[in-house]
């Protein structure tokens, strides 16, 4: 895309958001601004809380599930009614002191244990894929912006090409042809493969605007090599937008993982993931709505919380919203 319109062109220097600027003493660092802004918005506080909760849940999954007393693949035939086609015994999908979130129809597997382990799989894939995307995207963006010339045109072509791939269709196809490999590793790689150009463009724009600032020129005159300039002078300058976009990438990754698992090309049973649990429960939406609602609610909350948090971080760290699409 050679004809970038002026409106999405690289942005100038960052300025603090006007709303926060009024209340904040001059000279506050971006981190102070960020903390103030977070404290000002209740929705952000709640979503930050939810995010922390989900991360803790994923980190402590085995122990947390052990608290409930069931392993994710443990059958409990006493919790389902064989005369009702294996529907859970008791109201609300078999929610009881024994099974905190009810059980799976047919097998009687504990939903709490499965949802918690599902969080681990979903977040592991989403976080790792995001990390790949951010590392590759930032490196490519900085290189394209700083070195310019042939490096820039080669990298920009590659970004355009990657963005022209019908990514979901491609991911589904790649996941379904690959057979005997670790599904989690494969999925992380496949999801990560298509995500990097977005962040690379943002970083490239930011780098372009930074590279001729006085302090960078000063560093160059003082004899710093390109590596030192890139890591010490340019990288800190692009970090703000990168952090905001990283947070906004995560919900997309969670959704993609869930969609692939929902379609049956993602994580394979018996490993639990939210998308796959929803796919299994979809036929029960009328007879056992709790079974369908629980994994959906977890997926929804995780995506929503990460999006709201990312939106707020973007407002703070990248106020002009340099979303070059």
């Amino acid at each position: 895309m050679t004809a970038t319109p002026p409106l999405t062109a690289p942005r100038g220097p960052k300025s603090p958001p006007p709303a926060a600027a009024a209340a904040v003493p001059p000279g506050s660092s971006p981190w102070q601004l960020a903390r103030r802004e977070l404290a000002r918005r209740p929705a952000v506080k709640v979503s930050l809380g939810v995010v922390v909760l989900f991360v803790l849940m994923a980190l402590t999954a085995p122990w947390l599930a052990a608290l409930g007393g069931w392993a994710p693949d443990e059958f409990d035939k006493s919790a389902v009614d064989p005369y009702l086609g294996g529907l859970p015994i008791g109201p609300l999908g078999g929610i009881s002191s024994e099974h905190w979130l009810g059980v799976e129809p047919g097998t009687g597997r504990d939903l709490f244990a499965r949802v918690v382990h599902g969080a681990q799989v979903s977040l592991l894939i989403a976080f790792t894929a995001t990390a790949i995307v951010v590392l590759v995207g930032t490196a490519a963006g900085i290189a394209a912006g700083y070195f310019g010339g042939k490096v820039d045109s080669a990298l920009s072509r590659l970004m355009d090409l990657t963005m022209s791939f019908p990514s979901l269709i491609f991911m589904i196809a790649m996941m379904s042809v690959a057979r005997d490999v670790n599904r989690i590793v494969l999925m992380t790689a496949v999801i990560g493969l298509f995500g990097w150009p977005g962040i690379a463009r943002v970083v490239r724009g930011q780098t372009l605007s930074l590279k001729h600032r006085e302090y960078v020129d000063a560093a160059r005159l003082a004899g710093s090599g390109p590596w030192r300039i890139l890591t010490r002078d340019v990288l800190p300058g692009v970090l703000g937008p990168v952090i905001a976009y990283t947070t906004l990438l995560i919900p997309g990754m969670i959704s993609t993982e869930a969609a692939l698992s929902y379609l049956g090309v993602g994580v394979r049973p018996p490993t639990a993931s939210w998308g796959q649990m929803i796919a299994e429960s979809v036929t029960f939406y009328e007879t056992d709505p709790t079974y369908f609602l629980i994994p959906s609610a977890f997926l929804f909350l995780a995506v929503l919380a990460f999006t709201l948090l990312g939106d707020a971080l973007r407002d703070i760290l990248d106020p002009r919203g340099a979303r070059s699409a």
């Binding site: 004809a3 019908p166 491609f170 196809a173 042809v177 969609a259 959906s296 929503l304 939106d311």
Partner: protein, 328 residues
């Protein structure tokens, strides 16, 4: 302008070629054996070899790819001897599953996916821009916050959840709409729209938030410009100020977004089509995967890429219309 267009068209061809090559390598090199799929379950080794030869799978990969490309532009003869099949321009090969030309299969399914995409796109534009503009005009009020959080919440619901809930609520409980069944637009626009209404809503909810956010930001920026004050000062009705001077200048980023989203959807929404049972390209693709029907998979992927690339090109050309400052 003409040179620009020619250069862009060359770029489009290059991108498509690259995507075709990558797709080709992935699907013809990776484990799944197309010959075994075409030959069926009871297949002797000799017959498998014959099928492999017949399909040209014993040729080196670059020859297969070259033949495939030639086929797209000139048509080609598939197979040999008495089983030879003439595959006319634009030849994307024959489905291993039902021996129909891939091109015909795609053309057959395209109206369904296109109807789904276009209707949903219209709906999310109205919802997204509406919410964005209202939120921008009431910046930092309760209305603004509610609209924006609501939009994000709607987009956070997975489309399979929204779809199932719509089917349950609107079709099963309320019984207002029939279960979606695709009817051609030519058979009557009303029947067409009624049957596609729920899939449209499900998809639009997913996409609208991005547009709401983007248009809110652009509008806030635009309404602070001095020319808005000028327009108001000369006594222009507020409505005209908002629509003609505010909204129009904020259209460029939205246009970019719209091109990418619509282009990506035209070649099928796999999940939505599956849940609502719509016979579109997405479902064709999903079915072809489970039977390792490579020609169909390759065909759908190429078509999807084609739409994305063309949509981007159209968007870039439209910039000049929306924003008079852009010249090529």
């Amino acid at each position: 302008m003409i040179t620009y267009l020619l250069r862009r068209l060359a770029g489009v061809l290059g991108v498509l070629l690259a995507i075709a090559a990558v797709t080709f390598v992935i699907f013809y090199v990776l484990p799944a054996d197309p010959a075994a799929a075409a030959c069926g379950k009871t297949c002797s080794p000799e017959r498998l070899e014959a099928v492999r030869h017949h399909l040209g799978l014993d040729l080196p990969l670059w020859r297969q790819f070259a033949d495939f490309l030639t086929g797209i532009f000139t048509g080609r003869t598939l197979g040999t001897g008495q089983y030879a099949l003439q595959c006319d321009f634009p030849c994307l090969g024959y489905s291993y599953e039902n021996s129909l030309p891939v091109w015909d299969l795609l053309l057959d399914r395209l109206p369904v996916s296109a109807s789904l995409a276009v209707g949903a796109a219209a709906l999310w534009l109205v919802l997204g821009l509406g919410a964005g503009v209202v939120a921008a005009l009431r910046k930092n009020t309760l209305t603004d916050r509610t609209l924006m959080v609501g939009a994000v919440a709607a987009a956070s619901l997975p489309v399979y959840f929204t779809s199932v809930m719509l089917i349950y609520g609107v079709i099963r409980i309320a019984g207002i709409l029939p279960y979606p069944e695709y009817h051609d637009f030519t058979a009557g626009p009303v029947t067409w729209a009624i049957n596609l209404l729920l899939p449209w809503i499900a998809l639009a909810l997913l996409y609208a938030a991005m547009y709401a956010r983007q248009s809110r930001g652009s509008m806030i920026e635009a309404m602070a410009e001095p020319y808005i004050r000028t327009a108001r000062a000369k006594g222009m009705p507020e409505r005209t100020v908002v629509v003609k001077h505010g909204l129009r200048s904020g259209m460029t980023p939205i246009l970019t977004l719209f091109g990418m989203d619509l282009g990506g959807l035209l070649a099928g929404a796999v999940i939505t089509e599956s849940i609502f049972g719509l016979p579109g390209v997405g479902r064709l693709f999903y079915g072809a995967l489970s039977t390792a029907d490579q020609p169909v998979v390759l065909g759908v992927t190429l078509m999807a890429a084609f739409f994305i690339v063309v949509a981007n090109l159209v968007v870039d050309l439209l910039y000049a219309v929306v924003d008079p400052r852009v010249r090529y």
